[in-house]
Symmetry: C7
Subunit: 91 residues, 7 copies
């Protein structure tokens, strides 16, 4: 099964959220956890300008509550809009 997002949407596989610890080992409280998440781009929408900026395989930072959650083959994905993508991350 292959999902092809429409227009300016992007299919993302969110990466596991590593338990949040500061360098001193203190657990960050819940509210502080509502930060953007990191994910891998699985498919890019049909918009050509978007395709020139975001590629399949890109690691991206996206707004945590942006978009819609979907489930495929037992894994969770998100379909977000371009405006939910904050940045591309290069390791």
């Amino acid at each position: 099964m292959k999902i092809k997002p429409l227009d300016d949407r992007i299919l993302i596989e969110p990466l596991e959220e590593v338990e949040s610890k500061t360098s001193s080992g203190i657990i960050i409280p819940d509210t502080a956890k509502e930060k953007p998440r990191v994910g891998i781009v699985i498919a890019v929408g049909t918009d050509e300008d978007l395709q020139s900026k975001i590629k399949v395989g890109d690691k991206v930072l996206f707004a945590k509550y942006g978009g819609e959650e979907i489930e495929m083959n037992g894994k969770e994905y998100r379909i977000v809009s371009r405006s939910d993508i904050l940045a591309v991350i290069e390791d």
Copy 2:
């Protein structure tokens, strides 16, 4: 009877929602069910750009509460807007 959607609307026959079970057999609670649904495109609106992206027979993922519900010949359909279509699914 044939329904021809206007402008950027799409007529969809939603597929039955298979009862949600995780691989471990646990029932997903109701709130988690408010995910996008899958349906088959029955008719595409008059917008030409839309017609180049969505075809009759396409299996699409659409926002669960998007659009309007209609009943024809005892079956339920939805007429949704382009912005309610998240992606095309290829098996």
Copy 3:
């Protein structure tokens, strides 16, 4: 008396709502009745693009609470906007 809608408006004569029964004869509850309605186009607004898509005599599906209700010669009509028209129905 003749009513000529302005811009993107359409004058519709709503068809009687047949009492809603499912094939098994069960009455659909009230909330389920808030579905789009069917009507006949009596007049189309001055917008040229609209006139190329909607014709006098078309049977259309329109959002139930869209537009404004008017009464002429003892009959009820609705003046709706283009965005309230979901589809044209061909029998």
Copy 4:
């Protein structure tokens, strides 16, 4: 005194609302009275496209609560926007 509406506004003299009776003589309850009203166009705004569609003397149907009420020489008028005009009525 002459009032020249600016841009897309239209000066209307609302016609008296005849007491609402159905053909069977039953009085329509108050809520049902919040329908569009009929008025005569007294002056059309400076917008050229508007002037090509609405003429002084036209009988128009306009949204009952649209625009602003003004009083001139003891008579009531309304200045409404183009979007408040639903249709032109030809007798």
Copy 5:
């Protein structure tokens, strides 16, 4: 001191509101007084299209609560936006 409004703003000197009486001498209640007011244009904003439609010295009808009140030399003025001007009045 001279005030030169920016962009689409207009400086208005509101005319005194004559106590509201109908021809029969009945005082109009407060709610009915929330009508547009009349004022004299003192200065017109820098927008060229606006300058072609509204001139210094014009008597205008403007939305009563539109814009901002300012005080100069002990007199009250209003700076309103173009959209607050309903019409030009010619005596």
Copy 6:
């Protein structure tokens, strides 16, 4: 330290508000004080059209609660948007 506003923003040094007295010496109540304020333009944003209309040193009238307050060298300034500027004042 020099502040260069971005796009359509303007840096303003608000002038002291002289205690409000009418010519009869009566203090204007608090609500009446929520009027536009006067300030001196310290820097104009990068927008070229804005730069052609507002100059450094101009005395301007601006919406009292518009923009953001900043402190530099112990003095208070405001950075407001073009839409917060009502007029330029010439003495």
Copy 7:
């Protein structure tokens, strides 16, 4: 790890907020602290016009609650939109 903001976003490293004291040594109350903050631009989004106005290394003033907070290598950053940037500061 390198973060490349998308479109009109900017990655900022906020500077420490020096404890707020007025010249007389009085502590400014909390509400007064909700002022814009200063930060250093770490990366500029893909928008070309933005890149011509904001450069890496610029010290900028940005709306305190604008954008999203992210954490990299134990340091806090913000990704803000162009509209959250008030001004560039030159020392």
